[in-house]
């Protein structure tokens, strides 16, 4: 089968190569990786129930994906100084004017309700005094006829002294701990956007807001930015920055490594061109399929680079060996015939693993899975046609290459060691696996976006400020739905209170708010601030009137509309949280959902838990589970592929140990280093598996070929180790050196990717050259040369 393929490819090599190059050139305009698609629907399917819940919530109450600007002053006096309050008022207004900004919640837009004692009202205006007296006393007790101050905290027309603003802000239960810290040194501007449009213009809008706030900051006040939009934007910024910053050194180091390995300018250039063509094809086809480029899709490039270099190194190394003794045509055909099967098997397993992502809930994962599967198979085809074709045009390089000079003998010794001490090798592997298992016990699934950045990173700093002094970076909402005028009844408000109480008792919950709090606040102030009146009234009429009072201030009306529908058929309970692991957020969301459903049991009110916290924690959960599922699928698929490629079930089983050990080792190291299994590291696992099973397949293929050619078990192992192990080692060195640069990144997922990739490749290589030979040696009746030959004879006889 492989020989006819080799003949076919030799015959059509030039048209095929020309087609490969021309298509790659045609794909250049489509391979735009400088623009990231930010739309949330690039991740969530519109049909996803979690997304649909969020859309329904957003439609009613507005979006909850916000930008939080925390302003921290060195003292409370500084924050509540005239200049800082003027600054807050000015930047609030300026931000409100920015395109796509729907509203800004800040001290400048906050409405307070406060009882005013008669003595505090001040003297009536001079002309009113006599006339008021003339009007006679009211029917009720005049002395209890206090006032009610329903107005903006920062009233541009009647500016209170700063200390009075501070007193009012800190007195207000809804503001304190949310928009202003308990100690009065930190305040927040929470910016909400038109979520239909913000994702398209997010970077510019956030930059504009930074431009409004930063230059005007009063002395002694620092600005900290966070919130789901800032986090998403920071991801994008870092992704693009990393591409700009790290791609050049990765390319240079990779080229140097290729040069050092082969000591050939031609092969160095050939490798870079071949890898470039594979990337162009992958990104071009990805775009042609209608998929958009996003943070996840940015992993396509390193994935293809790693696999393409592995394929190309195998091809170039084999070519050199064949070309020494054969003319170009024969070398071409021998290389293709020899490598077509293992390359197909290696690419096929990885591609199938990636293709299994097509079943993911996450749109971006689906497109990444399909895109990368196609890319991997295209890379296989390109490598098999393009590289040998160009090699056949090159002048034969018959000299001894560095990888032969420096690696053959050590690998031969490794082979001898593995075959002479198989028990020790297996025992050592088992011991290492046991140690790694301890690390795996410590491994946890946890995507904490804030922890992805160093503590010095602005996002980490702002999260600390907002989490410790304000109501936290994350939030979710409980949406309640019923018939009109059902969510403003005393019974409903009391049930909301019960839900709030149970939520406040949960750790990490910083602030819980519902219309019950608004009613309680107005009720209390209408009763002259009596703490005993800080309750939901038992009369529906009183509640209706008190809610009406809150709408007397324009901002109050808007504020109330964000908590309840105008006909009180819908209301929300807002829950604000510290930044934390997505899994903990998801757990909290589920607990809140249970608590709310229990509180509204036996009523006609339905409960839906939603909001950005649920949206993104679910997304992270989907990402990790789909990747783990893909990883598992790929892991088992490798047996199927090997069974198909080698038509051997026993060699399928042989792959278990060398495939399992690198995975165990990497997971163990992650556990010891406290690196969680998160949306970034699961990608490493997928890429790693692609590399690990490549090594195994190449080794087994070579071993079987050498046995078929008459070699003894030990000799076949030695040849496989020396030739395929050398290619694996070269690939590992090249990729580890190249991607090792990523360890310098301040963005931890990028650094993890660089470090773990190198570790995986190293362990995969060690498993290939130690565990495979040791296992074969220990089980001669299954894998030994004689056993294979007997099986072959029986098959031929049959």
């Amino acid at each position: 089968m492989t020989r006819p393929l080799a003949d076919f490819l030799w015959r059509w090599r030039f048209p095929l190569t020309a087609a490969i190059v021309l298509c790659a050139i045609a794909f250049i305009p489509r391979a735009n990786i400088t623009h990231l698609d930010n739309d949330v629907t690039a991740w969530f399917s519109r049909a996803d129930p979690v997304y649909r819940d969020y859309e329904r919530f957003r439609d009613e109450f507005g979006g909850s994906r916000t930008l939080i600007v925390a302003l921290k002053a060195d003292t409370a006096e500084r924050l509540f100084s005239r200049s800082t309050l003027d600054f807050i008022e000015q930047v609030t207004g300026d931000i409100e004017r920015v395109d796509t900004v729907e509203r800004v919640d800040s001290l400048a837009t906050a409405t307070t309700v406060e009882a005013i004692r008669t003595s505090d009202l001040g003297p009536p205006t001079s002309d009113l005094e006599p006339r008021t007296s003339d009007l006679g006393p009211p029917t009720s007790d005049r002395s209890s006829d206090g006032g009610l101050d329903v107005r903006r905290l920062l009233d541009p027309k009647n500016a209170d002294p700063p200390e009075e603003v501070r007193r009012r802000a800190l007195r207000d239960d809804l503001l304190r701990g949310d928009l202003v810290s308990e100690n009065g040194t930190v305040t927040a501007l929470v910016v909400s956007f038109d979520e239909q449009r913000i994702d398209q213009v997010r970077a510019g809008v956030i930059q504009t807001i930074h431009g409004i706030v930063d230059p005007k900051l009063p002395a002694g006040v620092k600005a900290y930015y966070n919130g789901s939009l800032e986090i998403s934007e920071t991801y994008n910024r870092i992704t693009l920055e990393n591409q700009r910053k790290f791609v050049p050194p990765i390319l240079v180091i990779t080229l140097i490594a290729v040069y050092v390995t082969f000591r050939s300018w031609r092969k160095m250039l050939l490798t870079i061109v071949a890898v470039g063509i594979s990337i162009l094809w992958t990104l071009g086809l990805y775009s042609l399929l209608g998929y958009s480029y996003n943070v996840l899709a940015s992993m396509l490039v390193p994935l293809i680079v790693v696999l393409a270099i592995a394929d190309d190194v195998h091809i170039m190394q084999h070519w050199d060996e064949e070309r020494r003794h054969k003319p170009p045509e024969e070398a071409f055909k021998a290389t293709v015939a020899h490598l077509a099967t293992p390359l197909l098997g290696a690419s096929g397993t990885t591609a199938l693993g990636m293709a299994s992502l097509a079943t993911s809930h996450v749109v971006a994962v689906r497109s990444f899975g399909i895109g990368s599967a196609i890319g991997i198979m295209v890379d296989f085809a390109i490598s098999l046609v393009f590289v040998p074709t160009l090699l056949s045009l090159m002048k034969a390089e018959t000299g001894e290459t560095p990888h032969e000079k420096y690696l053959v003998e050590p690998l031969r010794r490794v082979s001898i060691f593995s075959t002479r001490h198989p028990r020790e090798v297996i025992a050592m592997s088992v011991a290492l696996s046991a140690i790694a298992a301890f690390g795996i016990v410590r491994l946890h699934v946890d995507t904490n976006h804030i922890n992805f950045f160093s503590p010095r990173h602005p996002l980490g700093q702002s999260a600390r400020v907002i989490d410790s002094d304000l109501s936290g970076v994350y939030s979710f909402q409980i949406m309640l739905e019923g018939q009109p005028d059902t969510l403003n009844t005393p019974d409903s408000l009391q049930r909301m209170e019960r839900v709030e109480a149970s939520l406040r008792a949960m750790s990490n919950v910083k602030k819980v708010t519902s219309i019950a709090d608004y009613v309680k606040r107005v009720n209390k102030e209408l009763h002259d601030g009596d703490p005993a009146a800080d309750v939901v009234p038992s009369s529906s009429r009183a509640i209706a009137e008190e809610l009406f009072v809150f709408t007397l201030g324009g901002e109050g009306r808007r504020e109330l509309e964000r908590m309840a529908a105008s006909d009180y058929s819908r209301a929300q309970i807002s829950v604000k949280l510290k930044s934390m692991s997505s899994d903990v957020v998801l757990e909290l969301v589920e607990q809140a959902d249970v608590a709310a459903k229990a509180a509204f049991k036996d009523t006609a009110i339905t409960v839906t838990t939603t909001g950005s916290g649920r949206l993104f924690s679910t997304l992270d959960h989907y990402l990790v589970t789909s990747q783990l599922s893909s990883f598992g699928t790929a892991f088992f698929t490798v047996f199927g592929v090997i069974f198909l490629v080698f038509r051997s079930a026993r060699f399928g089983f042989l792959t278990i140990a060398p495939n399992v050990l690198p995975v165990i080792a990497v997971l163990g190291v992650m556990g010891f280093l406290d690196i969680s299994m998160n949306i970034a590291t699961v990608m490493v696992a997928s890429v790693a598996l692609g590399v690990v099973d490549d090594d195994t397949i190449h080794f087994i293929n070579r071993y079987r070929r050498e046995v078929a050619a008459g070699a003894t078990t030990d000799r076949a192992i030695e040849l496989a180790t020396v030739h395929e192990g050398r290619a694996s080692l070269s690939t590992a060195i090249i990729n580890s050196l190249g991607f090792g640069v990523l360890m310098l990144s301040e963005y931890k997922p990028t650094a993890w990717f660089g470090g773990l990739l190198g570790l995986t490749m190293a362990v995969a290589f060690l498993a290939e050259v130690f565990i495979l030979p040791a296992t074969i040696t220990l089980l001669p009746s299954m894998f030994g040369a004689d056993a294979l030959r007997r099986t072959r004879s029986r098959a031929a006889a049959a």
């Binding site: 009613e60 395109d99 006829d145 206090g146 101050d149």
Partner: protein, 273 residues
Amino acid sequence: MRWVTLFYPAAIIAFSIRSSPAAPPTAEQIARRVQDRDTGRDSRAEMRMTLFDRHGRVRERALTIVTLRGRGNPGAAKTAPDGDRLLIRFTYPADIRGTSFLVWEHPKTDDERFLFLPSLGRVRRIAGTEAQESFVGSDFTYEDIGGREFDDYSYALESGNASWTDADGAAHPAWRLESRRKDSGAAFPRVVSLILKDTYIVVQADIYNRRNEAQKVYSVRRIQQVQGIWTVFDSSMANILDKTQTHLVVEKVGYNIGLREDAFSRRELESGK
């Protein structure tokens, strides 16, 4: 703040702009005439307010608005108080029935506002509330209801040849006047109004937010003369960005009914009548 101007637009007043017959009126003159038109000494109107939220959900409110023109305004009684008086009483729905709101305007100082909540049984003096804030939870602002303070704005005539088509399809000549708030921090710093030339009624207004987006549109559907005073009977304010709307229909109105200042007392506020 000036009350009772937008919904009780006067008939064209006798001394309308004829000082220079050949010259068209200036923007300021038009604005002044809109503000100074005769709306009677006092009035009592029963109104129905329909609030549409962004989902088209409807909330009905019925209210009675009683007004007394302050001394010095055209048509005002000599014994009238310095500033306008306004008493709003909700009569529907049942859960806010009797909730009342009293405003005493003071020409040189802040207005005073008093609230009566039947369930509480007491009057509360309300501090705060700005001109450009929501009027009793509707899409109208107090300024829309009470009229714009002449000196708070600068004016420019956009068109002297505009026209307005009424519900019967008849075209009426109008001016298009731009009013710019002098305070740039205002929520709605710019208004472009269509003012009927013959009645000085504002029949349409595009109200712009700080981003200079037309956020709200005021439109009049029906005007009618009552006791010689042109009155807007059917109007609406749509908030285009928030997708909300308030429809205001005057069901019954009477002018110069002999109201006195004591009709705007706290006692009256508490009476709930």
